[in-house]
Every structure is written in structure tokens, then in C-alpha cells.
């Protein structure tokens, strides 16, 4: 893969060039100071050294609430046909790129989801290297994640730009004059200890049935939903249908759900297969680290650290993998 | 033999009320207006609560007036704590008051009283009989509500307004959108005002007493905070001395106390404001000029038309305030800093229905030790009862359903807000 050098002072023009291919979105700061992915109006909006956004880019692919069917008496149920505007998502960190790769496996696997695919195809990913902090433990398998269309690596005075996909190459074609050839080889990072542990655990299928941590988690958890909302790979959803005021038409939509909510394991008549929080934490553990169905054995956690940051009562499932948690298994 | 005609519940008003007409044969002996809302003991709920919770609790006294209660409460607390709010905060507060007035006046004009003019039973009937007028009215109302929602964070019980300032400023885009919306409905409001000026009043023309108007004002313009209570008989007082001007008495037949200025029965509301001369913007000034013969010195049956003029005024005022806000530059202060200490504060504002006064006593920790609230409907109650008696007497001989209908229309002209009127006041 060829790497080009993009000097800092050409970034603005580079972004202008990218926005010819779609609406430019990237990490920006809200007036309250929250780092989020959102529309980028000018280069100065863009946070080039951000840590992590509150919600990962999954919101572009699987919005918190999305209409999935419309009903009319005449036509029955039909798929909504909202055209997906093309979006250039700039500045996606490797952990989030891996998150997207995971969602792709779920939603574009053997049972592809048309609504997901439509959004996925309308998005171009421009990755950006990052500096880890004390919360995250991401490790990309390669230095340049394969699902980025373009990938930028911070280097002194600029970025190393690589086109990963043909779409990426196409975009670079028009931007050649901003780029210089480069011989810099960026450093590669070693796998984070935590991620090594997680991968080991996933391989061995360990479930820590006797760890006292479960009780502690269950007693403290507020079921506030933050950990799932903010996780790049949590994708459980609920489906609901509402009639409209005309008395005949209806809309069906799906919205993000959370395995720590009581209703998640309920069936009609009130029977609940995961009645208490302890069981729901087990479930979360099984799904997140050991994987279900065709993704059994594939850990979903990409190490972005969001769940540790957003939990109001400091619950951290990875404690299971540290000495203490492990010792109890 | 005496008999009693009872109108219960009063309909198309906000809150629970009853009118009883006592008759001997066909002669009207007396009329009682009972504001029968159950007392929620709001002052008692406030005592013992910290200063910052007071506005959040007290705005729940009434939904339609929630913004103005909230702002009055904030100003009283800030006066107790000596807080100097920023120009921005002041403008936003005025803006939400304008929004509240647009919403309240249009709800009242189009949904509650217009049916009387067009011989409809309510908004649902009106939707069939006068769909264009209703829809135009609802558009105006929506514009007022949008202001309340964007500035207050919620349509009712505005959460965004807190002691010293606000939680978050609306964005420039939101302000521009509000301005556009206000500009669109301004012609609708002018049309509506003309409509109320020309429609035949459904009310029997009786000789009602000439009211003594009262309003809160500033010497200069309408900006916050207001300083003076003024009356059309020339009396006036600083708002902190409102208790010297306004006396209250318990009447056995009502859950709200009646309020008078000494012996004088006073009237507050849109008509009073116009008669006491609020500063109008250009188009509302024109509307007032056009309708002056119907408004100047008029009794309360003209209040509806006065609200029509004010509807134009608050839309214009809203636009002017948004322009002022758009002109502000630089980093804007969200909340003014302040220290908590013992103190007492009074604030008065014009609610859509007239003068509203809040007073609080705070201890050294900012905990409320006493609260007093005077609401416009409590002030209007005596005048309402007096006018009901005159109207009923003038209608001697009318059959019961006509009499009841006429009395209800008169009550509606006052636009009573019974939820806020009913609360027992500490003296």
C-alpha cells in the first residue's frame, strides 16, 4: 500500500476535496463540550486529537430509532424508501472501524439487512490514527484497518494518507496535488494486554460462573442503558408499531434496546428468562465476549473504553479479566 | 320562594369554577362566583425548600401561566439574593413571556371565546363551522408555543430558566426560525384582531361598572424588572409595597381570596394594560388606534378585543427581542454568579391575565421561610362577581339557559385562570 504525505496546512483543501464525494461528517464538539460525530462545517470544527466520541459511528448505520415498514390498507406493509444521502465520515479511530467491521459481519452476514446495507453503502470511511488513554485497550489487527476507505496517520507536521479501497483510491485521484510521496514508516503498536486476555477468554469460553463480581455489578447497575448506547458493537434492537391519527395507516420502527433492561428477556404473560440483573449481566458477558450464533468465539469488544467512561456507577466488566476477577473463577 | 341557578362547572375556562345566581321569583338577589379548585397549598409546599427549587415547584401552580410564574419567581429570588442577571438572560426572559402571552391569548381567543361569537360549543364545533379562523388561530398559538419550547426547553413548565440565567442558550438557527415563524403569523394576528373588532358581541349589552384598571409598569419602557403598581385612579405603589395597596379577604363561598385596593374593586388584564398605556410597537399601535373607541374606558367585555391588540403586540415584541438577541456578540454569560444569604425579594410581572406578584423570604442557607403570591384572577374576582350581578340583573326575566350562557360568556371575557387563583395566601 502506498502512503502519501499530507502536510497539516493542506488539510483544509483535502477536506474540501473529500466533500465533493458527500456530506462531510467527523468528530466535533457540541456547545456543552461533548465530543460527537456530526456535520463538519469548517476545518476548525474538526477535532483531530479527540479521544472518543460519546456515541460511536454506529448511529450512522443503525440509528437509535428507524422506521422499517409503513402500512396502508391499500398497499399493505411496504419498505420505506428514504434515499440515503452520501456521507464521508472523517476521523474514525481504529477501534470504531473495527466496531463497524463487526456490525458488518452481523448485518451483512448470512442474513443481510437491507436498511443497514443501504446506509452502509452510502458511507465512506476515512480512518484516523489515535493516542490511547487509560480507558481504552484497542488493538487493530493490522496497522491500517482494512475497512477504512482512506486512512490517515498522524505524523510530524502532517498525516500519512493511504487509500485502502478502490473507493479510497478514486477519491485520492483528484487530490494528488496536495500529497507528496513519503518514506516514513509509522510505528506499529503491540497488542494491549487486556485485549490479549479477552481473546484468550473468548477462545477458551470461560464464563466465570462463581465470580463475586456479578453480585456487585447487579447491585450497583442503574439499568441506565448508557453502556449499550455508547458501545460500537451493541446492536440489540426492539421493534414497535404505532398506528397513525388517520386511523388506518401505521409505522413500524426499530430502536436500540439493551440487554440490561428487564423487558429484554420477557415473554408474554410476564415470564422472564433473565429476571434479575445478575442473569442479565451474564447474558451481556456471553454476548459481548464469547459471541452468539455464527459469531460464537468472536469477541465483540473492540476496546474503545466507552462503557468504562459512561457508566455512572463505575461498572467495568473487564474487571472479570484482571487478577481478582480471574482468581475467583 | 328563593331558588338558585347554578352553573357548574364553568366551561371553557382554565380551572374549576361555579357561578350561583340567587333568585327570588325572577328577581336576582345576589351572585356568587366560586373558584372551587382544590387548594394545593402551594405556599406550604415552598416553605422549607431551597431557593433553586422554588421556581421549579411554583410554575406548576398553573400550566398556561407557567412561564410567567417561573420568571416572576426567579426575579423575586434574584432580588432577595441580589443577583444581577445579564442582558442576554433578561432578553430571553422577556422573549419567553412574549411567547407565553401569544400562546395564552390565542388559546383563549380562538379555542375558548371564538365559539361564543360563532355560536359553536367549542373548538371541535368550530373546526367544522370556521375552520380557516381556527387554523389561523392555532398557527399563531403554535408560534408562541415554539418560543416557550425553545427558550424554556419544554412547552409547559420551562426547565431551562434557573436562578441567575439559563441552562442553555438557543442556537442562532433556532432564533432565526422563531423570527420567521413570528413574521408569518403577524398578518394572521392582525386579521384576527379585526375580526374580534367587527364580530357582533354575543354578550347582552348591560350597563356594567366602569373598571378601575391596574397594571405593573416601569417608568420607562416595558423591560424587566418592573417597579411600580399603577391604577387608573391615580394611585400607585412600589411593587415591594404591594401589600399596602392590595388587601385580601376570605369569602366563604370561594376557595380563592378576594383582593381589593382598599375599598376599590380593581381590574387587571389586557384591557387594563392598554388603558394604562403600555408601549406598543408600530402595528399594534395602529390596531389600538383603530379600536380605541371600543377600548378606552371600556368595561371588561372589551377585554377580548384588547387581547387581540396585545396578540399583535407580543408578536412584534417577540421579533424585536429576537433581533436584539441576534445582535449580541461574543461569549454570552449563561448564569450570573451569586452568593446565598438571608433576604427577602418581591417581583411583579404582567401575566397574560394581569398583574402577578411573588414574594419570598429566604434564610441564610437560601431556604424558603415564607412565600406570598398574588395572582391576577384573585385580583379580578371581586370585579367579576360585581359584573355578573349587574348582568344577571339586566337579564331579569331571561330563561335559565340564556342567563347561564350570558354569565359564562362574561366570565370568559375575564379569561380567568382559576388554578393559580386558588391558593391560600399567608398574611
Amino acid at each position: 500500500m502506498v502512503r502519501h504525505f499530507l502536510p497539516d496546512n493542506s488539510l483544509g483543501q483535502f477536506l474540501d476535496g473529500l466533500s465533493l464525494f458527500g456530506a462531510l461528517h467527523g468528530p466535533v464538539r457540541t456547545t456543552e463540550g461533548v465530543e460527537v460525530f456530526g456535520p463538519v462545517r469548517t476545518e476548525s470544527d474538526l477535532l483531530l486529537n479527540y479521544r472518543r466520541t460519546l456515541i460511536p459511528p454506529k448511529k450512522y448505520l443503525l440509528p437509535p430509532r428507524q422506521t422499517i415498514l409503513n402500512y396502508t390498507v391499500a398497499a399493505g406493509y411496504t419498505l420505506p424508501d428514504e434515499p440515503e444521502p452520501h456521507i464521508i465520515l472523517f476521523g474514525v479511530h481504529p477501534c470504531d472501524l473495527q466496531g463497524i467491521a463487526y456490525l458488518d459481519r452481523v448485518f451483512l452476514g448470512d442474513r443481510p439487512d437491507r436498511l443497514y446495507r443501504r446506509r452502509r453503502e452510502a458511507i465512506t470511511l476515512v480512518g484516523l490514527s489515535c493516542e490511547p488513554d487509560e480507558f481504552c485497550f484497542c488493538t487493530s489487527d493490522e496497522n491500517i484497518p482494512r475497512n477504512a476507505d482512506l486512512f490517515l496517520q498522524h505524523v510530524e507536521h502532517g498525516f500519512l494518507v493511504s487509500a485502502v479501497t478502490s473507493k479510497g483510491e478514486e477519491m485520492l485521484d483528484g487530490l494528488g496535488k496536495l500529497l507528496a510521496s513519503s518514506r516514513i514508516t509509522p510505528q506499529t503498536s503491540a497488542e494491549h494486554r487486556m485485549m490479549t486476555r479477552i481473546r484468550e477468554v473468548a477462545r477458551s469460553g470461560k464464563t466465570f460462573p462463581d465470580s463475586p463480581l456479578w453480585e456487585r455489578f447487579a447491585a450497583r447497575c442503574l439499568s441506565c442503558g448508557a453502556c449499550s448506547v455508547c458501545c460500537p458493537t451493541c446492536y440489540c434492537f426492539d421493534v414497535l408499531e404505532n398506528g397513525a391519527l388517520d386511523g388506518t395507516t401505521a409505522d413500524r420502527f426499530r430502536e436500540w434496546d439493551n440487554c440490561l433492561f428487564r423487558a429484554h428477556g420477557e415473554v408474554a404473560g410476564g415470564t422472564n428468562f433473565r429476571p434479575d440483573r445478575r442473569e442479565r449481566f451474564h447474558y451481556r458477558y456471553l454476548h459481548k465476549y464469547l459471541g452468539f450464533g455464527t459469531l460464537a468465539g468472536v469477541p465483540a469488544c473492540v476496546g474503545c473504553g466507552r462503557c468504562r467512561v459512561v457508566c455512572p456507577v463505575d461498572i467495568d466488566l473487564t474487571e472479570l479479566f484482571t487478577e481478582d476477577g480471574d482468581a475467583c473463577s | 320562594m328563593g331558588n338558585v341557578l347554578e352553573i357548574k362547572p364553568l366551561s371553557r375556562v382554565e380551572g374549576h369554577g361555579t357561578v350561583r345566581v340567587f333568585l327570588t321569583g325572577r328577581k336576582v338577589e345576589s351572585v356568587q362566583l366560586n373558584l372551587s379548585e382544590s387548594p394545593r397549598l402551594f405556599e406550604a409546599l415552598l416553605v422549607g425548600k431551597p431557593y433553586d427549587e422554588l421556581p421549579e415547584i411554583i410554575c406548576r401552580i398553573c400550566s398556561i401561566c407557567s412561564s410567567v410564574h417561573r420568571v416572576t419567581s426567579l426575579q423575586a429570588i434574584e432580588s432577595a439574593l441580589g443577583v444581577d442577571i445579564s442582558e442576554t438572560t433578561g432578553l430571553y426572559r422577556e422573549l419567553i413571556l412574549a411567547g407565553g402571552q401569544i400562546e395564552s391569548h390565542s388559546l383563549h381567543l380562538f379555542c375558548l371565546v371564538l365559539p361564543d361569537y360563532l355560536n359553536a360549543t367549542g373548538f371541535a364545533d368550530l373546526a367544522a363551522k370556521a375552520p380557516t379562523e381556527l387554523k389561523a388561530g392555532l398557527r399563531i398559538k403554535a408560534a408562541g408555543n415554539r418560543i416557550q419550547e425553545i427558550v424554556g426547553g419544554r412547552l409547559i413548565h420551562p426547565a431551562n430558566l434557573v436562578p441567575g440565567g439559563m441552562g442553555k442558550h438557543p442556537t442562532l438557527d433556532q432564533l432565526k426560525m422563531l423570527k420567521d415563524e413570528l413574521q408569518t403569523v403577524l398578518p394572521d394576528a392582525e386579521k384576527a384582531c379585526k375580526l374580534f373588532g367587527t364580530l357582533n358581541t354575543p354578550l347582552h349589552q348591560a350597563d356594567l361598572a366602569q373598571p378601575c384598571y391596574m397594571a405593573v409598569q416601569n417608568e420607562d419602557s416595558g423591560s424587566l424588572p418592573t417597579k411600580q403598581l399603577v391604577m387608573s385612579n391615580g394611585e400607585h405603589a412600589d411593587i415591594t409595597r404591594y401589600r399596602e395597596l392590595l388587601t385580601e379577604q376570605v369569602v366563604p363561598h370561594s376557595n380563592a381570596k378576594q383582593c381589593r385596593a382598599g375599598d376599590v374593586i380593581v381590574t387587571v388584564g389586557a384591557l387594563s394594560r392598554l388603558n394604562l398605556g403600555i408601549q406598543l410597537e408600530s402595528r399594534s399601535a395602529q390596531a389600538f388606534f383603530d379600536a380605541r373607541a371600543q377600548l378606552l374606558g371600556a368595561h371588561m367585555t372589551a377585554n377580548t378585543l384588547a387581547q387581540g391588540v396585545e396578540l399583535i403586540h407580543s408578536i412584534e415584541r417577540g421579533i424585536a427581542l429576537i433581533d436584539a438577541l441576534l445582535d449580541l456578540s461574543g461569549p454570552l454569560e449563561l448564569r450570573a454568579p451569586f452568593q446565598i444569604h438571608k433576604g427577602s425579594g418581591t417581583a411583579a410581572l404582567e401575566a397574560p391575565r394581569g398583574a402577578l406578584i411573588h414574594k419570598y423570604e429566604l434564610d441564610a442557607d437560601g431556604i424558603c421561610t415564607g412565600a406570598d403570591i398574588v395572582t391576577p384572577t384573585a385580583i379580578n374576582q371581586s370585579a367579576m362577581e360585581r359584573d355578573l350581578y349587574s348582568l344577571a340583573s339586566a337579564l331579569t326575566g331571561a330563561d335559565d339557559s340564556d342567563l347561564a350562557r350570558q354569565l359564562e360568556i362574561l366570565v370568559r371575557a375575564y379569561d380567568p385562570c382559576i388554578s393559580c387563583a386558588v391558593h391560600i395566601v399567608r398574611i
Binding site: 434492537f237 426492539d238 426499530r254 415473554v267 442473569e279 450464533g293 | -
Partner: protein, 279 residues
Amino acid sequence: MHAPEFDSVPIPARIQTIQQLTADTALFRLKLEEKLPSVFIPGQFIQLSVPAGGEIPISPADLPAEDGTMELCVRRFGHVTSLLHRTKEGDQVGIRGPFGNGFPVDAMSGKDVLLLAGGLGIAPLRSLLFHLLRHRSDVRSLTLMYGAREPAVMLFKNELLDLANTGSLRLLLTVDFLTETCQTEPACNVGLLPTLLKGVQLEPGHSCAAVCGPPPLYRCTIDELLRAGVVEDNIYLSLERRMKCGVGLCCHCAVGQYFCCCDGPVFRYRDIKDIPGAL
């Protein structure tokens, strides 16, 4: 076999007839306006859409007929089922499916087959029963044990008695308790369903059982079945979970590492017996 996708659009269907079976349960005969994308295997389920209510999993109560009709036996339980019970003949509903794995009918051939239905569990088993009756010579013997709360709520009773009278089916009925008026009901045991298994002895390896009913039924029936000689491999259970998508995406229906909607709803007992919370 290819199951429909989650975003597949429900096929329109009309309600042809509604037959009230008990106070809260009715048999809805639907006519599909298009063909189902694949052949229905007993034990599979469809997702039934009731406009403005939503979508719920239902196991058809018979084998869909050539003319595109299908029978659903549904109890009024909550949100969607109540709305279904308010529909009238001629109303429109929607169908997606079939989803999941049904009963392994091939594995039943040559065996003594025991069907155990508790309450509404008779609905899914009825389609299996019809299938087996149609291929009666493939299985060695066919027994249906069906338990209901009380005689008044026993579903399809006359139909089942008629079938039993043809001799191709051994039918054992039980009710949890008898009400005054029904004391003369014929051929009906009193007691929970497992009591019917008391004393039954089957040939291990040559017998199999299909069980469907409310969760407590499984817990109390399995031991009895094992004791009667049915091996773990040959006990098939149809499990209920909340299903929103039907294809293993929404993640509500997980049973251990399996998804009830695509790995089930029919599971072999051996595969799930060690999963905590499965039953």
C-alpha cells in the same frame, strides 16, 4: 433452507374465519395473498403482523393448505394478541416466514412418537400431529398426551377424539382440576401432564418425544420422560422467547449461545440441558 430476511416485507393475508374456541382463544383461518417463500415444517413459526399493533411469533396450528390458507390458534395475552382478537373476518394482517427449525420429522420415522402438549402448546403440536397422521406408516406408534387447566379450556377436543376413534392415534387427556359441571367428561385423567407418563415404559433409542407448553411444563416433564426411556437425544422441545426479527439479529431470544428464532424454536434436549435459564 433459506429463511426470509429480517427486512422481508410481510405478505398480506386476509382473515377468512374466526372460530372462538374458549373465552380467550380463537382459531383464525387466514388466506395468504402470496405464496410463502419456503415449505412449512411443523414446529416452525411465522411472524404475524397485526397493523398498528406489531408483530408476534406464532406457530401455525396446521399445515398450510394448497389454496394458501393457514390456521393460527391464538390466545389473547397482551398487546398484539388483543388487537388480533378485535379483528373481524375480512380484515388484513401480514405474515413473514416460515422461520426457525421445526421438528425433525425424518428422525421420527420408525419410532414410537410421543407428543406432549400443555395448554396452548397443543397449537404447534397439532400441525406436527397432522403431518405424522398423513405419514402414519412412517412411525411405529403415535401417542398424544394433552393436558389442560380444566375441561372448559381443552382445545380441539372433539377433533382429537374423532382422530383417536380412527385408531391411528392414542390419545390421553388430563386436566389439572375438574370443575363441578364437567365431572362426567369421558376418558379424562385428573392431574398434571406428567402423571400421564407414570408407568409408561418405552424402548430407549426407538422412541422420541415432542414437547410444547408453558415453561414449568418442561421442568416437570423431562425427568419423567427420561425415566420412561426416551433418551436425551430424542426429546424435542419447542421454546418460547420474545422474538422481534425472527433471524437472530434483535438478540432477545438467546438461549445460551443459541438463538431461539433461528437455532430453534425446536431444540433437542441434549443441546440445551446444560444452559442455565434455558428452561
